[in-house]
Assembly symmetry: C2
DNA sequence: TCAACATATAAGCAACCGTTTATATGGTCA
DNA sequence: TGACCATATAAACGGTTGCTTATATGTTGA
């Protein structure tokens, strides 16, 4: 059966819906500080305070960006005593950041060459 | 030699500068209509009016988005008579859009499962 | 030169974003 | 309980974004 009783009915997902989701993810990646945070926590789960120290950003600003990353499901959160650890939820995000960097570098280089 | 006389001096590019460029590209990808335009012109160079027709968007809106795509160097432009054709400048953009879509789909599926 | 077409630009607007400053929440340990 | 630490939230701000409506620019063919 394609729809067992205990599952939610699967609403058909249009191409446009998927593109909207992709655009939503891209928006989350569209801030330099958020990319720095993503790269930093890609080295293993990190507490908020360690991010604040490493990236030299204010604590509320880091909290705000982490909230955005969580909202787009790009990070997983774990509480451990008074500390809260953030972790990358999908490593393919790193590939995307890397490819975006490569493309940006190439496009700029090609423009200067003209 | 690392710096022949006819070349511009290469200013050192920091990791943060590269991340900023990547973030800038991501911002251009952060709108559903721009992604639709990119996918459409990935099938070969397209005139503005054909984009307007295919995507059912207003002509000024399409022009506006094309300007953004051009500003971030993601498209190349060619005039031919009264028509202006836009073309993808780097096919890796398609991989990125595809991967973003995949990740978005997986993250949403994983969330519903919990 | 003029009309018709293809595209770009300008002005305006509600909504959103990144950041700062200030304050609240929640956990730990004495 | 209360002081202390880690983190989150709220409010306010200037700046940006996506879109619409209206107008301008530029090309073609008569």
């Amino acid at each position: 059966m394609s729809r067992p009783g205990h599952m939610q009915p699967e609403q058909p997902t249009s191409v446009d819906d998927t593109l909207k989701s992709a655009a939503f993810l891209a928006k989350t990646l569209s801030d330099g500080n958020r990319l720095r945070i993503l790269l930093f926590i890609s080295g293993g789960r990190k507490s908020v305070s360690s991010i604040v120290e490493e990236l030299a950003l204010s604590q509320p600003l880091v909290s705000h960006h982490l909230k955005e990353l969580k909202r787009s499901l790009l990070v997983k959160v774990e509480r451990e005593g008074p500390f809260i650890y953030y972790e990358l939820s999908d490593d393919r995000i790193l590939d995307i950041v890397q490819t975006l960097s490569d493309i940006a570098t190439d496009l700029l280089k090609a423009r200067k060459t003209f």
